[in-house]
Amino acid sequence: MDLRFSDADEAFRSELRAWLARVLPGLAPQPARDDWDARRVWDTDWQRQLFDAGYAGLNWPKEYGGQAAPPSQQLVFLEETTRARAPYVGVNFVGLLHAGPTIVAEGTPEQKAAHLPKILRGDEVWCQGFSEPGAGSDLASLRTRAVRDGDHYVVTGQKIWCSYGQIGDFGELLVRTNPDAPKHKGITWLMLPMDLPGIEVRPLKTVLGSSEFAELFLDEVRVPVDCRVGEENDGWRVTNVTLAFERGTAFVSDLVDATRLVEDLAPYVTDPAHRRELGHITADLDAIWALTKRNVTQSARGVVGRGPFMIKLAYSEVCQKMGELALRVLERNVLTVNAEGPFVEERLRSLAFTIAAGTSQIQRNILSERVLGMPREPR
């Protein structure tokens, strides 16, 4: 057990630090939060800068534009970008942390070549089409139908909670290809080109008053069979590859955001009782970061430990604790959302953290059943 970084890692760190110091001052101001076209430009510009400097896709294979860097350098990257307050993935989230890793794991060579370099360069933005109005926690009960017609699937149905639906070039789409099979056995994972006829995107206004999500209405959309990732009816397994990834490391960058936020909040926290609570939140975040280091170490050796099942559960709850502390500390300044920094906005946003990507209750089910080996509730 050793937290020391190698000389190569430290060299990587100093180069990165110097690069960040050079480019960050020239960054344009962040666009308005509901101006999605401008946000796309801003976030993908940053992604392109990372790519050109050799910092995109650190853990992706080299042949598709990644760096195949050791996990320790991924940690250094996160530490340094946090310290320097560099932008976070933004609208590239689904592509970089969700669809991309799925294609890396399950895509054909053609699919990899077509999408991975573009995602890394910021040329391709992805959105998500998993949840449905009737399929939330019970995602496998999804009903969006895909009927094979020659070289196409004809897709009809409705999706909800599509992250970045308004600006996505492609969507990761789960469809039912065999309605007669047990619910987990009839699902297929498709890449949905968002410019196909028959797709209607309606922004979904959230408690923030803005539209980070959209609803997707699909009316006989003809999706080429080439867009299928994995085998027909094997989509649930493919999805679990993605979800396992999501649970394990996709939240690392959110953790980075939370660490910044709590440091920004700290100067406002003066009351001794509030300071004490700040100490508890700091301990939680430090521990989650430490567990992340453990997960990264283990995953590099091909070990799946307990940690990946725990990060999202722990992280989402500490974010909400932090948000509650911010509201108490700011007192009447909370009456406008953006009066004192991003704290109130982040409190609102964090309401979703224990719901999205598997509620905390579902996370506890998974943890108790798959890690602790406890029996399933009768269902």
Partner: protein
């Protein structure tokens, strides 16, 4: 960077676990601490790990196993000492309670207020003849001293060194307790039948167990971080790492003790089931090397303030 147990550490862990399982079954643990416990652990090299060239990360691995088995005694105070030693960290002014006083050679006194470190022979301390009748933890007997303990001898170690080592090893022991409590609760929940099925199939019970596992794992990551920083101060901020470790591990042990009691239901309130012994020890450790409040304040002190 390799933040996981090395092969040597896995072997060390398995070795000490075999020793604890073989030599310290709960039947013996329940008899409490005596010199034979000290002798066996000393012979196994538990207290001389540092002198024998082992790292703090190794010591954390070993003390976690002692905690898993709830091995009794002033084991943290004995670390690095040849004689059987207990200790306390409290103000030296006035009477106090000292754990294991009648069973040891030496008493180490750490006074956070005065930053004093000294060692006094137990025989020179003016204390009650018998231990208190109703100790919180039946395996941690306590003696009341009538007046401030004698001057004794100044120790070579600094207050900070003793405090950090004590907090780290106590936290490691707490991680072992928190992990064992999770195993016990899960096993009981899968065995105990109500409404014609194991209570562990109900989400209300499973979720308690899931939270226990998370607490233990986060606490372990915190303790291992602190141990790494003890071994190499350039890998982090020691004060912050130690405070985080003791806070997270102490909370994990206490909350998992309470949670296990709840999962065991009525049985958890009996003397016979071991859960209360773990919970009581966790409560006692909350009084040593800083409790949760102390360390939360220490952590907050590492965070920015308004200038």
């Amino acid at each position: 960077m390799n933040f996981d147990l090395s092969e040597d550490q896995i072997a060390l862990r398995d070795g000490i676990r075999a020793l604890v399982d073989g030599r310290f079954p709960m039947s013996r643990v329940r008899e409490g601490f005596d010199r034979s416990v000290h002798e066996e652990l000393a012979a196994a090299g538990v207290f001389s790990l540092r002198a024998d060239g082992f790292a703090w990360t190794d010591a954390a691995v070993v003390y976690e196993e002692l905690g898993r088995g709830l091995v009794p005694g002033p084991l943290v105070w004995c670390f690095g000492r040849k004689r059987v030693t207990t200790g306390f960290d409290a103000s030296l002014i006035g009477a106090t309670l000292v754990e294991f006083l009648g069973l040891v050679d030496d008493v180490v006194a750490l006074s956070p207020n005065e930053q004093i470190t000294r060692v006094v022979k137990a025989s020179e301390i003016d204390a009650a003849e018998r231990p208190e009748e109703w100790p919180l933890d039946p395996l941690t007997p306590v003696w009341r001293t009538d007046r401030p303990i004698g001057a004794g001898n100044q120790l070579d170690e600094s207050f900070d060194d003793l405090w950090n080592a004590g907090a780290l090893l106590t936290a490691a022991y707490c991680v072992g307790m928190a992990d064992r409590l999770t195993e016990m609760a899960v096993a009981y929940a899968m065995e105990r039948q109500q409404f014609d099925r194991p209570i562990g199939s109900f989400q209300a019970v499973k979720h308690i167990c899931a939270d226990m596992a998370v607490r233990a794992e986060l606490a372990r990551a915190s303790v291992h971080t602190a141990a790494c920083v003890m071994d190499d101060g350039t890998t982090g901020t020691l004060a912050r790492a130690i405070a985080g470790a003791k806070l997270m591990a102490g909370e994990a042990a206490i909350l998992n003790g309470r949670s296990a009691t709840q999962v065991y239901g009525g049985m958890g309130f009996t003397w016979e089931v071991d859960v209360h012994l773990y919970l009581k020890r966790a409560w006692i450790f909350e009084t040593q090397f800083g409790g949760g409040d102390h360390h939360a304040d220490a952590l907050a002190a590492t965070m920015p303030t308004r200038t």
